[in-house]
């Protein structure tokens, strides 16, 4: 499954090449054109095809230009220096809570040199320290190098670091859950790979973007180049449906297994009402479950796309993902499949042009 391949691949923001290569391999035979731009976005075009009764689909002319974006990059770390004792100083790339860093395995650089982020032994930590969040500002990556020169033979300053987690099916029953690294946003990438295999009445610009996690930067320049008539961003979004104490009314944001999440507003944009209505209407008509993302935190590529050039009507559809921005995440393949179905149906519903 493409989600597994993409989840296991490594692509911290600014270093998406390995993910891009895998995606291109998966979509190449289904697309009419592709290009890789200056920021490393992979822009794929699948031209509009009008289904003809009993025959091959034919190419249409003057179709609606629809950009569908999913970001290739993942949060991670970057090596900022090599210490005298052979350990590596690092900085975070993207939003990571320090509290998920202790006691984790990582892979460093293009050579995937294995390393670990350690933690002081509990025996040596004063009780007062244990009541505080771990201070990871001085934390290092240990690759087992005896000293600086041994480390320098394996890694270098500026090497990107990804977490180590392997895709695995957790539930083959009702929820069809899987776990793996970087479902934010390899889930969106995998949805888009599947979408690019279908026929639509619009020119589908499937854009696998770079650098979303550091400020929606890939989507911004890709949208400028394409100048689409409308755009959809595909995401793996927050699913915080953990148990709560009585009286705690914090939003779960989304709930696992309840279908694709539609954004009505987030920190980066307000969706185009016509597109949001189209998605809701399509879901209802097709009997596809959906939910709203019940929080206005976080941003997606839509935040950059809707401001491109003279402005682009945009909307965001997301697969709920538990534990995003942590080393290992979890989603329901039911939600994944429903997201593919909903976006596919919505693209087909664009037959008559931009909804009014």
């Amino acid at each position: 499954m493409i989600l597994e391949t993409l989840s296991n691949a490594r692509g911290v923001s600014g270093n998406e090449a390995a993910v891009r290569d895998l995606i291109l391999e998966a979509v190449r035979e289904h697309i009419d054109e592709h290009q890789v731009d200056a920021l490393g976005n992979l822009i794929c075009l699948r031209r509009a095809r009008a289904p003809k009764a009993g025959g091959q689909p034919t190419l249409r002319e003057r179709s609606l230009r629809v950009m569908v974006a999913a970001h290739m990059d993942e949060i991670g770390l970057i090596v900022t220096g090599i210490n005298g004792d052979g350990t590596l100083a690092f900085d975070k790339v993207g939003g990571i809570d320090d509290r998920v860093l202790p006691s984790k395995q990582v892979l460093v650089g293009d050579g995937a040199v294995p390393g670990v982020i350690g933690f002081p032994p509990i025996h040596l930590i004063p009780r007062s320290e244990r009541d505080k969040a771990p201070n990871m500002s001085q934390a290092v990556i240990d690759i087992g190098a005896a000293d600086k020169s041994a480390a320098e033979a394996l890694v270098k300053k500026g090497d990107y670091v990804s977490f180590q987690a392997t895709y695995q099916v957790l539930d083959e029953g009702r929820l069809r859950t899987v776990k793996g690294k970087a479902f934010d946003d390899r889930a969106g990438c995998a949805v888009l790979v599947e979408l690019l295999q279908g026929d639509y009445p619009v020119d589908l610009y499937g854009v696998f973007t770079a650098q979303e996690e550091v400020g929606l930067r890939g989507a911004r320049v890709a949208a400028y180049r394409i100048a689409p008539d409308l755009a959809l961003a595909l995401e793996g979004t927050i699913c915080a449906d953990l148990p709560k104490e009585e009286g705690d009314d914090t939003s779960p944001v989304t709930e696992l297994g309840e279908g694709p999440a539609l954004t009505f507003m987030d920190a980066s944009f307000v969706p185009d009402r016509r597109l949001l209505d189209l998605l809701i209407h399509t879901a209802r008509q097709e009997g596809i479950p959906y939910q709203f993302k019940q929080a206005v935190s976080g941003g997606t590529d839509s935040g950059a796309i809707h401001l491109a050039r003279e402005g682009v009507p945009s909307a965001t559809i997301a697969v709920p993902v538990r534990y995003i921005h942590a080393p290992v995440s979890l989603l329901s393949l039911n939600d994944f499949d429903h997201t593919v179905q909903l976006v596919r149906a919505a693209l087909i519903a664009l037959q008559g042009g931009m909804p009014s």
Binding site: N83, D85, T87, G95, D97, D98, R99, V100, P102, S103, K104, Q105, V113, P114, G115, V116, I117, G118, F119, P120, P121, I122, H123, L124, R130, D131, K132, A133, P134, Q138, A139, D142, I143, G144, A146, A150, A151, Q164, L170, D171, G173, R174, L175, T177, V178, K179, I238, A240, L242, P243, T250, G257, S297, G298, R322, Y323, A326, P327, V328, L330
Partner: protein, 356 residues
């Protein structure tokens, strides 16, 4: 020749939370089978591998102890589809968020210690550790299925692949004290090719992490004349004062302090010097926190020594060590045992065959 890295890998991957060491014991027994004349398992599950000496009966005996059990978690309840848990042994809660685990239910289930993404956390929340009552394990199943496959009291182990690092360094879980077990195997193998007059009881102990309980009863049961406990020691690492550590890749640390009989210490040091083995010394001012602390006061008291294999990040899932230190520890014990004679017994005030 024993492949120390491979044996450590096998033992590290096995599940053996305190009190439930059966799987580890089976592996240890298999590994030691060619090296032991006889095996016994006692009432608390300690595995005793005997290698008889060549001296005239009644022969004095030395007990070597390394513990099989590991720290872990235990299911304490359900919260919807999530699991609540207790800790078994000294687990630092701050190392848990984002950690993968195995829940030993009806069948082993992969799981994740849940964490919330930074998007939905306040700075206030991020400044504190997640308390136990807000830590949950997610096995990706619906609430009904979870209750069929998991029960209160089921054990949970940390899930962490064995990771070879640079040089001779490796990282993984439960090296505390499976590394000690491997050193026992190295010792017994080396003794097979040497002459030794004393009997050797190599004991893989149980329940060390919650109070040295296996060692307490096995030392009573065996009533050895002298004993060496092998455990892991705090290896030099970032964030820990240099005064509390032992050096990595510098050989076993031969402890001194109240837990160690001065003559045992002296003879171990002399043995290391004579054979030009890398070693270091370590001062332990009081309780050593090792099986040696219990063995020393078994029955009428037993002259005891403590050896520490340097280990970074103790009690995390990324415990890291240099495999050469395991081999050096095993060799030191074997050479020490080969040199045991009546004169040393006399120096210690032991009557020949006092244990008989």
């Amino acid at each position: 020749m024993i492949d120390t890295t491979e044996l450590l890998r096998q033992l590290s991957q096995a599940a053996g939370v305190t009190g439930y060491e059966d799987d580890v014991r089976a592996l240890v027994r298999e590994a030691l089978t060619p090296l032991a004349d006889e095996f016994r398992t006692d009432a608390l599950g300690n595995l005793i591998a005997v290698q008889y000496g060549e001296g005239a009966e009644p022969r004095p005996a030395i007990m070597l102890a390394a513990h099989m059990d590991e720290i872990g978690l235990m299911v304490s309840g359900f919260e919807g589809s999530f699991l609540r848990f207790h800790t078994v042994g000294g687990v630092d809660l701050r190392t848990l968020p984002g950690q993968e685990v195995t829940v030993h239910g009806v069948q082993p289930l992969p799981g994740i210690v849940a964490s919330l993404p930074p998007h939905v956390l306040s700075p206030e929340e991020r400044s504190k550790p997640v308390p136990l009552d807000k830590l949950f394990i997610d096995v990706g199943l619906d609430a009904e299925t979870v209750r069929q496959r998991v029960h209160v009291g089921d054990l949970i182990t940390m899930r962490r692949d064995f990771l070879p690092l640079a040089g001779n360094y490796v990282s993984g879980k439960a090296f505390d004290d499976r590394a000690g077990i491997v050193s026992l195997a190295v010792c017994l193998e080396m003794l097979r090719g040497m002459r030794h007059s004393w009997d050797v009881y190599a004991v893989a102990t149980t329940q060390e992490e919650i109070g040295l309980r296996g060692a307490t009863v096995s030392a009573y049961g065996l009533a050895p004349d002298i004993a060496i406990a092998v455990d892991v020691g705090f290896g030099k690492q970032q964030g820990v004062s240099d005064s509390k550590i032992v050096e990595m890749d510098a050989g076993p640390a031969i402890a001194m302090g109240p837990n160690v009989h001065p003559l045992m210490h002296q003879r171990l040091v002399a043995t290391a010097k004579r054979h030009e083995l890398k070693y270091q010394t370590e001062v332990i001012a009081g309780a050593s926190g090792t099986d040696g602390w219990a063995i020393q006061v078994a029955r009428e008291g037993i002259p005891t020594a403590v050896l520490s294999i340097p280990l970074r990040y103790m009690h995390t899932t990324v415990e890291t060590l240099c495999t050469r230190d395991i081999e050096r520890t095993g060799r030191l014990m074997a050479l020490f045992i080969a040199g045991l004679d009546d004169a040393f017994a006399a120096d210690l005030g032991l009557q020949k065959g006092a244990s008989a």
